[in-house]
């Protein structure tokens, strides 16, 4: 039985010196076979397992994670959630995700610390203003909140930007999605894991999937570091490692893996209460609850499976930050890291069948799949349970690369990657 978290349980455990808290999820030995095996215990894998059990009653499910859950991109991202996309297909999908996020702390009985502090996208040129008017209006047509901002509006929201007459990147205006914001990344992974576990899902950490046993009718078993596990269907949710597993299955993907890095500064007093994105500076920044500035930028410029990030890109990101906020120049950086992200040509995810019967794909999130975790899990669970696309994800299959029906969201990722 899952221990419910509440004020009462907190008080009760406090009286017992916090020694009797139960484990949030079990660490079971794998069973010989499962109806569904999810490879990858990031946000997408864990959310998928939860919705399989919750929405579809499919409970004989295991998630295999080669490290610890949330240790991939889910625990490395800059935690921005938003649904400010351009095209109707993406707008519908990402707004469903944001709506699920809005109810997620209650749904999972786990505080994901969603903070809808808004995201301000800056316009530094006449062209930026025109492009952002189109963008913000497209959002409204799609039923998503957006407001255009004048220079004075931006100045009220983000007083620390460089408003000097000779600023390198003059602030001419911008737009905001008020419902955008941040959420605690680990909590999203842990919350889904705990709730999925309570519904019977086995979460197997420190267990790598190394290959598959394929029969004439499709996938039969997964090879893991703990032995061969029989399986009905397999869902791959391994982000930057999708091509590696695809290779063991005998196909290739329209995916390229790159390092994407981020960094945080030393903690300082509250001075930034929204997320700020500047496509021209190539960076975005927010302030965490601990007071650190959380800074992200563009991809490293060549293929990589190394979770390090290289110096020229880090330097460029910092330069962009200082250009926007000269007063940040004295701050020290506390940590820097990278995740290996799964980039596709049109910046739209791949959610669909693979060429191997019984194996399904959840990848292509690139630099922006944290915000998509609830909807990605929701739609992937639907696909795995019913072997058909969820209506919110019908355009996201691999076949779009052959038909040419790409959903080119490159612009809406905000940063030119």
């Amino acid at each position: 039985m899952m221990q419910r978290y509440s004020f009462l349980s907190l008080a009760g455990h406090a009286l017992r010196g916090h020694r009797a808290w139960p484990q949030a999820w079990r660490s079971p030995q794998p069973k010989p076979a499962y109806d569904v095996v999810i490879v990858g215990g990031g946000g997408h894998g864990l959310a998928t397992a939860y919705y399989l059990a919750k929405n579809h009653g499919v409970r004989n499910v295991a998630v295999f994670e080669k490290g610890w859950i949330g240790g991939g991109n889910t625990g490395r991202n800059t935690t921005v959630v938003r649904s400010n996309y351009l095209f109707p297909e993406s707008a519908r999908f990402y707004d469903h995700s944001l709506k699920l996020y809005e109810g997620l702390s209650r749904e999972l009985n786990f505080n994901i610390m969603l903070s809808q502090r808004g995201m301000v996208t800056l316009a530094h040129s006449r062209h930026d203003i025109d492009a952002q008017r189109r963008w913000a209006n497209a959002m409204r047509i799609n039923g998503i909140d957006s407001d255009l901002l004048t220079r004075e509006d931006v100045r009220r929201l983000v007083p620390r930007l460089d408003y000097a007459p000779d600023a390198r990147l003059p602030v001419l205006g911008g737009f905001t999605q008020p419902r955008a914001g941040t959420a605690r990344h680990d909590a999203v992974a842990w919350g889904y894991a705990r709730a999925a576990d309570a519904l019977g899902v086995d979460i197997i950490q420190n267990c790598e999937v190394t290959g598959f046993d394929i029969g004439a009718d499709g996938v039969r078993a997964v090879k893991t570091s703990l032995g061969l596990i029989g399986v009905g269907r397999v869902g791959l949710a391994v982000a930057g490692h999708s091509s590696v597993l695809a290779r063991t299955l005998g196909f290739r993907l329209p995916v390229q893996s790159y390092a994407l890095q981020a960094m945080v500064s030393e903690p300082i007093k509250p001075l930034l209460d929204t997320v700020v994105l500047s496509p021209s500076a190539g960076i975005y920044v927010s302030q965490s609850d601990k007071g650190e500035l959380v800074i992200g930028g563009g991809l490293d410029l060549y293929a990589s499976y190394a979770q390090r990030g290289n110096l020229p890109t880090a330097e460029q990101v910092i330069a962009g930050l200082i250009t926007l906020f000269p007063s940040f120049s004295r701050l020290r950086m506390l940590r820097q890291w990278a995740g290996v992200v799964d980039v596709v040509h049109d910046s739209t995810p791949i959610l669909g069948r693979s060429p191997v019967p019984g194996v399904f794909l959840n990848c292509g999130w690139g630099t922006g799949g944290f915000k998509a975790i609830p909807a990605g899990g929701w739609c992937f669970a639907h696909l795995l349970a019913k072997n058909e696309s969820h209506p919110l994800a019908t355009g996201f299959g691999l076949d779009r690369f052959t038909s040419g029906a790409l959903i080119d969201e490159a612009a809406a990722s905000g940063i030119a990657h």
Binding site: H241, S243, V244, R247, R252, L253, P254, V255, Q256, S257, L301, Y302, A303, S304, Y305, A306, N310, L311, P312, V344, H345, F401, T402, S403, G404
Partner: protein, 90 residues
């Protein structure tokens, strides 16, 4: 920071170069099927390990050349000319 050796200019910092992505991809003929065309445009090996890619000495002599590089350690195994066959690397 990578140090790449341009065949013409010698070793230079990575910031002088830009990476042109996977090498040895041949453009199919005009009669190609949609599948072949999609393969050509979008599908990549994307290996974890040694990859073969094109680099451009963009802020230098302007030459294009091939590089075999490890995508985990980023170690550069060999540099070889455009048009040369894929080398066998350890």
């Amino acid at each position: 920071m990578l140090s790449l050796t341009c065949p013409h200019c010698g070793p230079r910092d990575e910031t002088e170069f830009s990476c042109g992505g996977e090498s040895h991809i041949e453009r199919p003929g005009v009669e190609a099927s949609d599948e072949t065309w999609a393969d050509y445009l979008f599908v990549r090996d994307n290996p974890r390990g040694v990859t073969f890619e094109r680099w451009h000495h963009r802020f230098g002599c302007g030459a294009w050349f091939n590089v075999a590089r490890d995508t985990v350690s980023h170690e550069i195994k060999t540099v070889y000319p455009m048009g040369a066959p894929r080398p066998t690397t350890p």
